[in-house]
């Protein structure tokens, strides 16, 4: 296909109104009329919605009627509809790459208000595209097979749900979790709002299903340390920290814990957020998966001195499942798709000094209170203070680390609801008076508002105002005074309480930036992973084949997390079931007769795609390895490296075009 028919290059230009999105700012008629005057343009039209069927039909009919061989569409961003119009171009019988998109919505009508300036800008951009498209060459998309195995990073409810969905469909899943057990934050919760299902009752069956599933390889105490490759063909290195217990041999009988030379547990228990103690050999919580003990080398005497009696080994006996010599291992796996479900961390309440977290023992975070109310928690579900007293009045402070310019400006979405839930649970278990200090109650969700009303009817008190200070009651009673302006009464209130619950917000993990770099994806400003499109591609990332599930993308509750995990699994399945991906044909290539063999390009390529043919004294590009960045193209002193879709000549035409030069 030469592309240029007997009549030479014949361009059709289509200007989209996008309703009023474009037409409201840009004079679309003037733009189309202007486009019609450009050399090579045979037809120029404007239409309400170019992406609609009739819009695409317009292109197809014109190609036939006017013998067009190049198409330019001025509409939205190519990230949205370039595919659509390439397809329409192909359906019209042309090579899909005989097409150029002009972004006059995101880059023009949506960011400018001056109609004249916006229209002028659109004219410049259309002119550039028309000049460029004339040089377009026919290109073919290469198909690359997609490996069926999937990597799921993070074993919270998001990762668990995604892994089970994929495994149930027959795909093999590697589930990588850095803690000794899966379960994530949800395993720590007591009841879940608004239905008050017990978190463990709904989560633990799924956790055991993961362990039992023949299609899931579960690696705990593991993290991804390297990712190579591209959609369909990722090579991932996973580093597995030693557990010092052989997972296959340990039965989880926990006799070793009993037998440990430490008669008393002395180390703050991570799972109970330090509210209880554990021994150096321990199991994070009774329903942990894998149901296997773990040794903490930081506190184990054998690791510290090498002179322990090793009563744990003794009691384990013939099973010999304890191995002090276990080393860190790395595993390399080949997967086609990756789902990131790395979750969140709770806001560090100590960052707000006037709430006295860490100073006053009676100040707790909400997650700590989850553990206190939990029957499997450190107090067996009894709500008592650190000194054993039963609180008679409890203040719950909303929006700690959320909706605040000094910490995080976003709403953490779940705090209102979990605060209401905790208020309910406290009311249920104690006689205490419960005060909620709130800015607004945000209860948008199925049965959420009803739950709020129910909690209010139960007698929980609501004070609209932010607590400005917490200090010990001067009367020496040991209570804390919460000082807040009640904005409904327009007065400052001082409420004495025995216990303070800080409803801490959700934050991206401290290492979110490193994880993002590892997987070559993007973070939004607050550190949450950025989705490809906030509405239409909420689980996709800008890196093909990598999907997001759960709170790593932003704060959300359990139902939304599970829904998103299912969506991410479906996206991965769609790729796997198709079996191949088509690669954008934007690779670099060498015009051999122009290559001087200077080797400038060889060290520049980050993918080692360029090699030097010694006998010919020429460079050679392995097309399969080239990812199309074009760095070598820009560096080649003789201009012998070229890039499909981004040829020098095409870019020069664009420059000439936008500047209206000649």
């Amino acid at each position: 296909m030469s592309g240029n028919g007997a009549n030479g290059v014949r361009v059709g230009v289509y200007v989209c109104h996008c309703g009023t999105n474009i037409a409201g700012t840009i004079d679309v008629r003037r733009l189309a009329e202007y486009a019609a005057t450009l050399p090579g343009v045979v037809v120029a039209r404007e239409y309400k919605y170019m992406c609609s069927d009739p819009g695409q039909q317009l292109i197809k009919e014109d190609v036939r009627a006017h013998d067009l061989n190049r198409i330019v569409v001025a509409a939205c961003s190519p990230t949205l509809h370039e595919k659509t119009f390439r397809q329409a171009t192909a359906q019209a019988g042309l090579n899909p790459y005989y097409f150029q998109m002009v972004n006059i919505r995101e880059h023009d009508s949506w960011v400018h208000t001056d109609k004249e300036a916006a229209t002028e800008k659109a004219e410049d951009l259309v002119r550039a595209a028309v000049r460029r498209v004339k040089l377009h060459e026919p290109l073919e998309r290469k198909r690359v097979p997609v490996k069926a195995d999937v990597l799921v990073v993070g074993g919270g409810i998001a990762g668990i749900h995604a892994a089970l969905t994929l495994a149930d469909s027959g795909k093999h899943v590697y589930l990588v979790e850095r803690e000794p057990t899966i379960g994530g934050h949800m395993a720590k919760f007591d009841k879940t709002f608004p239905t008050l299902d017990c978190a463990a009752c709904i989560l633990t069956p799924k956790m055991t299903a993961v362990k039992a599933h023949p299609n899931i390889t579960l690696w705990t105490l593991s993290s991804v340390t390297r990712v190579d490759g591209y959609v369909g063909n990722f090579t991932v290195t996973v580093t597995r920290k030693p557990r010092y217990v052989l997972e296959d041999l340990c039965l989880g009988c926990m006799e070793c814990i009993e037998a440990c030379v430490y008669k008393q547990a002395k180390t703050p228990d991570e799972f109970n957020l330090g509210l209880s103690k554990r021994k150096p050999i321990y199991i994070p919580f009774p329903q942990a998966v894998p149901q296997v003990v773990v040794i903490d080398p930081e506190t184990c005497i054998e690791f510290k001195s090498g002179r322990c009696k090793k009563t744990c080994v003794e009691v384990c006996g013939d099973r010999k499942s304890i191995d002090f010599q276990q080393q860190e291992r790395t595993e390399t796996i080949e997967v086609g798709t990756i789902i990131l479900a790395t979750g969140f961390k709770v806001f560090d309440a100590a960052r707000i000094p006037y709430y006295g977290y860490g100073t006053y023992p009676a100040v707790y975070t909400a997650l700590e209170v989850e553990r206190l109310t939990n029957a499997a928690g450190p107090t067996s579900g009894e709500i008592v203070l650190r000194d054993g007293r039963k609180p008679k009045a409890i203040g719950i402070i909303h929006c700690v680390g959320s909706r605040d310019d000094r910490t995080n400006r976003y709403c953490s979405r779940v705090c209102c609801m979990y605060s209401l839930k905790l208020a309910h649970l406290i009311k249920e278990k104690t006689e205490a008076e419960v005060y909620n200090f709130y800015i607004d109650i945000r209860a948008p969700g199925k049965a959420f508002e009803e739950f709020y009303n129910r909690v209010a009817e139960e007698g929980t008190l609501f004070v609209r105002g932010k607590v400005a200070d917490i200090y010990p009651d001067p009367d020496g009673s040991g209570r804390l005074i919460l000082r807040a302006e009640d904005t409904l009464l327009s007065m400052v209130r001082k409420v004495p309480v025995d216990m303070v619950v800080l409803s801490v917000g959700l934050e991206a993990h401290a290492d979110a930036q490193e994880v993002r770099r590892l997987f070559n994806i993007t973070c939004a400003n607050d550190g949450w992973f950025l989705e490809r499109h906030p509405k239409l591609a909420p689980v996709n990332t800008f890196t093909e084949g990598i999907f997001l599930a759960g709170c790593c993308q932003g704060p959300k509750d359990i139902p939304d997390t599970v829904a998103q995990a299912g969506a991410a699994a479906a996206e991965a399945l769609a790729l796997i079931d198709k079996g191949y991906v088509e690669m954008e044909p934007n690779t670099a290539y060498i015009v051999e007769e122009d290559c001087s063999g200077c080797k400038t390009c060889i060290t520049l390529c980050p993918y080692n795609a360029i090699s030097f043919l010694a006998e010919k004294k020429k460079a050679e590009i392995a097309e399969v390895l080239c990812k199309g960045c074009g760095t070598c193209v820009a560096a080649c002193p003789s201009g012998s490296i070229k890039q499909h879709l981004f040829e020098d000549a095409e870019v020069f035409e664009e420059i000439t075009g936008v500047l209206n030069y000649a």
Partner: protein
């Protein structure tokens, strides 16, 4: 003040509107510009974006060509160091920009007319600030008037 006596329309008419050619990488800055669009972030309409896959694709000749053909300024936008979609293309861009800056200085092109900005896909506002700031500075500098008539240009190129 003398300005007040000039009709507003005339000021607007006389106001020099610089034209800035921007080379944005496909993965960070182009997407930041898309995000600016979806979030209706307003900025000066003086830039004309040319999309490339990576800031490492920006051939120094593109920059020189843009100036020669009448651009009053050239802006390159890439991913932050360490964040390049292609690992290190932005470092290559930085190297070329440093070289170009010296070259442009020699040629008498003011420093403010050529800029490299690291703008991630999430930083629509950073894009707005960078574009507006650059437009203001170039506007203050006035037109570059480097544009060579096409026929002269062609003659020189073909000579």
């Amino acid at each position: 003040m003398p300005e007040t006596t000039i009709p507003a329309a005339q000021i607007a008419g006389d106001k020099f509107e610089p034209k800035i050619v921007a080379f944005f990488c496909n993965w960070c800055t182009y997407l930041a510009a898309d995000l600016a669009g979806t979030s209706r972030t307003r900025y000066a309409p003086n830039i004309r974006v040319i999309r490339l896959m990576c800031s490492g694709r920006v051939d120094p000749q593109f920059v020189l060509d843009a100036f020669a053909k009448g651009a009053d300024g050239v802006l390159i936008g890439g991913c932050h160091p360490g964040d390049c979609h292609y690992q290190e293309g932005n470092y290559k861009a930085l190297r070329r920009v440093r070289m170009l800056k010296r070259l442009l200085k020699e040629m008498g092109i003011e420093e403010d007319r050529f800029r490299l900005e690291w703008i991630s896909a999430a930083e629509a506002d950073r894009l707005r600030v960078a574009v507006n700031d650059m437009v203001e500075k170039v506007r203050a500098l006035g037109p570059l008037r480097l544009q060579v008539p096409p026929e002269v240009f062609a003659e020189e190129v073909n000579a």
